[in-house]
């Protein structure tokens, strides 16, 4: 591919904005100036599907109605560990209205059925004329269990002699959105798997002993976090219509491609015989990358019945079986010199993703601060509980909760403002700006821990995060212009709810000199070109450059046709406000619509795929590190008599490259902060250790935050141009969620002068920390 050189804006406006020359592919457009000088990109553009969503005309997966459609329900194990001796479906099959029954079987020798490894594991399913009938039929299935000992508690599971979840090695976690942090599950003994001792940032570095010997202060602590379920508003589920020529799948998914590939592989079908559609999506937070077990079940029932099958999970199933953020027992030993310089970080962590893997938390301690000596050992602990899944910045939220409190504690030991300490040890230029602007907006004025007086004590805290900027090159977009002047953008990418559909319209509109509402965006369907799943905050940085590039190519094709009419060269043409104009001669112009009407073909189209980052990747497989920073500040008040904590306000200072849509970015940050507050104070999966059941598998006693729990959220958004692609934009979904819980924990400590080493912080744990509980 021929390349050319272009000058790009580079740096942070108001701080160090300059220019940089990049070599870019010839078929990609010249650099955009900074957002100030653009018309559509970087503005507060209303979501293009807002009206459909608020009026209810948007059809989500559970709304799909197909002719002859059946409703399905799955039978789930009600014991946590057992061999299945028999499953008798005869009564269910005879139940009036039942059209198909399917039982999951095992390929293993010696057992017909898969062993039950957690309470809630799906065993069988029924498709019937109505959901009521399906539920009644499921209740008629008789299962004979041979129950076995089980273990729920993480630390109990780590002990020698604990009941084993797996006797044999297990494969890598498949449902993750995280990259490069899990081991393959084959190492380890008992219920332990691991350790993971490296990430894409490398492995251990330096000499720990040397590092600790150079330290003036050494902190040695253990931080604990709970299991946190995803609770998307829309549960997991599919509607599957398996016809001889094609399996059509309507899925609530954050990866149309992932569901297609998963079902194609499960049923050994060619990829071109599986079509996955997700036009509207009610949230996933990392748990909806695959077809799960409900996908194959619905497909089997559709195949058996010859009818479309609707299978959406209920809230209880969602909590129990469709993913969670693993807990963490996170040990950190950190050495520092008097001036704050970190000399050594030793990390060890255990966590349980239930019957799955993916509980590592080490990357943030490895990469956030400058420290020459580092080592990590991260273990997965298998327990008889529902499988974990990627959860908005997998591993980093737990990791930051520990690390950012540890840094706070070191600041305390050194009697320094924790913000000043971070200035010393944090190499990131963007976080320097985030700290400055965030602190100013928050009104940060450090006060010693526990210095507030009275019953209600206020405190402030700060925490930081980093998130790698992943790029997925399998990101393709088509842009079509029709002769009536309309424009259509097509990609298989789904909109998890963050506004992907809208930013695609924006970048194409900007390139074509149109308005965002002029662009129709068709996504969420695998008949369109492939694009990545909505995980790793990848999508914005992956899909918007090819969208712009495809629009640019379409525009070039149009210029080629228009130039002779205007008696000029294509390179002399430009677009603005719906007009094609000569760059120098204002009299030579034609409206885009007129130009399109005179085309030789009814449409012109082009497609483009994501190219390598301009300037090259920092890691060979599509990763640039250290770009997505955040610094969050929290103010809390603690009632020292009731133990009640209220997060009063959060200032969230964030960067995400070139911001594309300010309203949508603020939405992401609001959501991330709210989930972070909830993680710090409210949500927690409660398991009964003696019976193996989840006790709060609902949204009544699984405590989500409502209006009064939500703090004032002040967002400081920093534009940062790094000249990496034609849009230079990155995602912000995950970064928004990482620092909050740690900032809140630091603020609680600052308020009461006692640190809690575990979340959620509840009246019970606060009163205990304040020594008010005799037990």
């Amino acid at each position: 591919m021929d390349k050319r050189k272009e000058i790009f804006p580079h740096g942070i406006p108001g701080h160090n904005l300059g220019e940089i020359e990049r070599e870019i592919p010839n078929d990609e457009p010249p650099a955009w100036p900074i957002n100030d000088k653009l018309k559509v990109v970087g503005k507060r553009i209303r979501r293009n599907d807002a009206l459909a969503k608020v009026t209810g005309s948007a059809k989500y997966t559970s709304d799909i109605q197909l002719p002859g459609m059946l409703y399905a329900k799955m039978l789930r194990a009600n014991v946590p560990h057992a061999k299945i001796l028999s499953i008798d479906t005869s009564k269910a099959e005879r139940h009036p209205g039942v059209r198909a029954v399917h039982v999951f079987t095992s390929d293993d020798e010696g057992s017909k059925y898969q062993d039950v490894k957690y309470a809630g594991q799906p065993l069988a399913g029924v498709a019937a004329d109505s959901l009521d009938i399906a539920k009644e039929a499921v209740a008629l299935i008789e299962v004979e269990y041979e129950t076995m000992p089980f273990v729920i508690d993480t630390e109990e599971a780590m002990k020698e002699g604990a009941p084993l979840v797996y006797e044999e090695p297990i494969g890598e976690q498949t449902d993750g959105g995280d990259v490069g942090v899990t081991h393959d599950g084959s190492e380890g003994k008992g219920n332990l798997r691991g350790p993971t001792t490296s990430s894409f940032l490398g492995g251990a570095r330096g000499d720990l002993d040397q590092g600790f010997s150079e330290a003036d202060v050494i902190l040695d602590r253990t931080y604990r976090t709970q299991v946190h379920t995803h609770v998307p508003l829309e549960t997991h589920g599919v509607v599957i219509d398996w016809k001889p020529d094609q399996m059509t799948v309507y899925a609530s998914t954050q990866s149309t491609k992932g569901v297609r590939d998963g079902l194609a592989s499960y049923f050994d079908l060619p990829k071109n015989k599986v079509r996955v559609i997700c036009e509207f999506m009610g949230g996933g937070f990392g748990a909806k990358h695959s077809a799960g077990t409900f996908g194959p079940m619905a497909a089997e029932l559709s195949r058996k019945s010859g009818r479309p099958v609707w299978l959406m999970l209920d809230r209880k199933e969602e909590h129990i079986a469709e993913g969670n953020r693993p807990n963490s027992i996170h040990h950190l030993k950190i050495g520092a010199k008097k001036d704050g310089t970190l000399t050594a970080i030793q990390q060890k962590s255990h966590g349980t993703a239930g019957v799955a893997l993916g509980a590592g938390v080490g990357r943030i301690a490895q990469g956030l601060y400058t420290c020459p000596n580092f080592s990590t050992e991260q273990y997965d602990v298998l327990t008889h509980a529902g499988p974990g899944a990627a959860w908005r910045a997998p591993g980093n939220v737990q990791g930051a909760y520990g690390l950012e409190q540890a840094i706070d504690e070191i600041a305390d030991m050194l009697k320094t403002d924790p913000l000043v300490l971070r200035e010393k040890i944090d190499p990131s230029e963007v976080r320097k700006v985030l700290r400055q602007r965030g602190a100013k907006s928050f009104g940060w004025k450090y006060r010693p821990p526990g210095s507030d007086t009275g019953r209600i004590k206020k405190g402030i805290g700060v925490a930081q995060s980093t998130w790698p900027r992943f790029v997925n090159l399998d990101s393709t977009v088509e842009v079509k212009m029709y002769s009536d002047g309309t424009v259509e953008v097509r990609s298989g990418v789904q909109d998890i709810g963050t506004g992907t559909k809208t930013i695609l319209a924006q970048v194409v509109a900007e390139e074509l000199g149109l308005k965002a509402e002029d662009i129709t965006v068709r996504i969420g369907d695998t008949i369109f070109p492939d694009a990545p799943g909505s995980g790793g905050s990848i999508v914005t940085g992956a899909i918007t450059p090819p969208a712009r590039n495809a629009a640019y190519l379409v525009k070039q094709k149009l210029f080629n046709q228009v130039a002779p009419q205007l008696e000029t060269e294509p390179s002399m043409l430009t677009v603005s406000d719906g007009m094609i104009m000569h760059k120098e001669d204002a009299s030579k112009k034609i409206s885009m619509r007129d130009a399109l009407r005179r085309m030789r073909t009814g449409q012109i189209e082009a497609s483009a795929s994501r190219s390598d980052d301009y300037g090259g990747f920092q890691q060979p497989w599509g990763l640039a590190y250290g770009d997505l920073g955040s610094v969050q500040f929290a103010e809390v008040s603690v009632d020292t008599e009731t133990g009640f904590v209220k997060v009063e306000r959060i200032t969230a200072a964030h960067s995400c490259g070139r911001p594309l849509n300010i309203s949508q970015i603020e939405s992401q940050v609001n959501g991330g902060v709210i989930q972070g507050v909830s993680y710090a104070l409210y949500e927690s999966r409660v398991m009964d250790n003696k019976t193996g059941h989840m006790m709060n598998a609902n949204v009544d006693q699984y405590r989500m935050p409502y209006a009064k729990e939500i703090p004032d959220i002040d967002i400081v958004l920093v534009e940062e141009y790094s000249a990496r692609s034609s849009t230079d934009a990155y995602g912000i979904g995950e970064p928004a969620n990482i620092a909050t819980a740690a900032a809140v924990a630091n603020a609680v400590y600052n308020a009461i002068g006692v640190r809690l080493y575990e979340i959620p912080m509840t009246p019970a744990s606060i009163l205990k920390a304040l020594n008010k509980v005799e037990q």
Partner: protein, 335 residues
């Protein structure tokens, strides 16, 4: 949820003729042929969704004429019809002015949406929110089983007093305030006879019978709540502490009603919610307050006295300082 028949009751007599069981009976030993009452349905539907009750017939009492009125008698006592919603009580000016603690308890119950549906009768008759009771997978004492799973399990929300058998706490925080005003439950039986039962006698402790939380039988229905008249000198305050402020079940709530002569308390009611399997009058606290000039130190004494008999479980000792804090605060809000 099972499929069921819907019967729209036209009168109390009609309703009583149709029902043949109580929700409590059905949870403990299902007949398969049950007809049970539904008023607002906020509790019954949750129980049905979990499969804990599968009534064949639902007898809807929500449209029975005359059951949805708040009336004051000549002696200034108040009768709240059983079908009056919590939202309607919350908005009632006379109740707010005379029975502040009740207004506060109602206003802090559930959510605005639920208060629009939930009735006072249903609130009194609702079942505990103990998560073992609410789980189809745990046949606990309250469901006719022989184990209290919470006793050695997850009991952070559970009882710190009277917790010798079942350790659940009653879900009605409105009852905490009603009991403090010496309210009585008006119950009508199949013969159309009405009786008034003091709140303390309405609730059944699990030691007597764990499978029910109140004295209601299948041939009885709550038709209203009677509130004795209160003079201007009767002051009250209610505080509920949930893990969240927007919406949550109480982890500790208290209603204090005091007859005040100047700053002297001549009679007191201190009722604790979420402390025991039933709303619980704290006579030690009441005795501490009665006859005293109420001050901060007396409030501390009363709060301490209220917790003297607390016997916390493995995870809920935090409730003791929490109760002490809100009892002190409620007393001091009055004086």
């Amino acid at each position: 949820m099972n499929r069921f028949k819907w019967y729209e009751a036209k009168s109390v007599e009609d309703a009583l003729e149709q029902v043949n069981s109580t929700v409590s009976n059905e949870v403990a030993s299902r007949t398969g042929n049950a007809a049970v009452f539904k008023a607002g349905g906020t509790d019954l539907l949750d129980l049905m969704k979990e499969g804990l009750v599968e009534p064949k017939t639902i007898v809807h009492i929500g449209n029975i004429p005359g059951m949805r009125e708040i009336t004051a008698d000549l002696d200034e006592s108040v009768r709240i019809g059983a079908n009056v919603t919590l939202a309607e009580i919350e908005e009632h000016a006379y109740i707010r002015d005379r029975y502040l603690a009740l207004h506060q308890a109602v206003a802090s119950a559930a959510t605005p949406q639920l208060r629009n549906m939930a009735t006072i009768g249903g609130n009194l008759a609702q079942r505990t929110r103990c998560w073992y009771f609410r789980s189809i997978d745990h046949k606990c004492l309250r469901k006719g089983g022989d184990t209290c799973f919470a006793r050695r399990g997850e009991n952070e929300n559970h009882a710190i007093m009277n917790n010798g058998t079942c350790v659940s706490v009653h879900a009605s925080s409105v009852s905490t305030a009603l009991m403090a005003f010496d309210a009585e439950v008006i119950i009508t039986d199949g013969k159309g006879e009405e009786k008034r039962v003091p709140m303390e006698e309405f609730f059944v402790s699990p030691g007597e019978d764990a499978t029910t939380e109140n004295i209601l039988r299948a041939n009885e229905i709550i038709t209203g709540v009677y509130l004795p008249p209160v003079k201007d000198s009767r002051k009250s305050y209610y505080i509920k502490q949930g893990p969240r402020k927007s919406y949550d079940w109480s982890i500790a709530d208290v209603a204090v009603v005091m007859e005040m002569q100047g700053s002297k308390c001549t009679e007191a009611r201190v009722v604790l919610g979420a402390a025991a399997p039933t709303p619980l009058r704290s006579r030690p606290a009441e005795r501490t307050l009665t006859g005293k000039q109420v001050s901060a130190s007396v409030a501390v004494e009363a709060a301490t006295a209220a917790m003297e008999r607390a016997r916390p479980l493995s995870q809920n000792a935090y409730k003791i300082p929490l109760f002490e804090a809100i009892i002190r605060e409620a007393i001091m809000e009055i004086v």
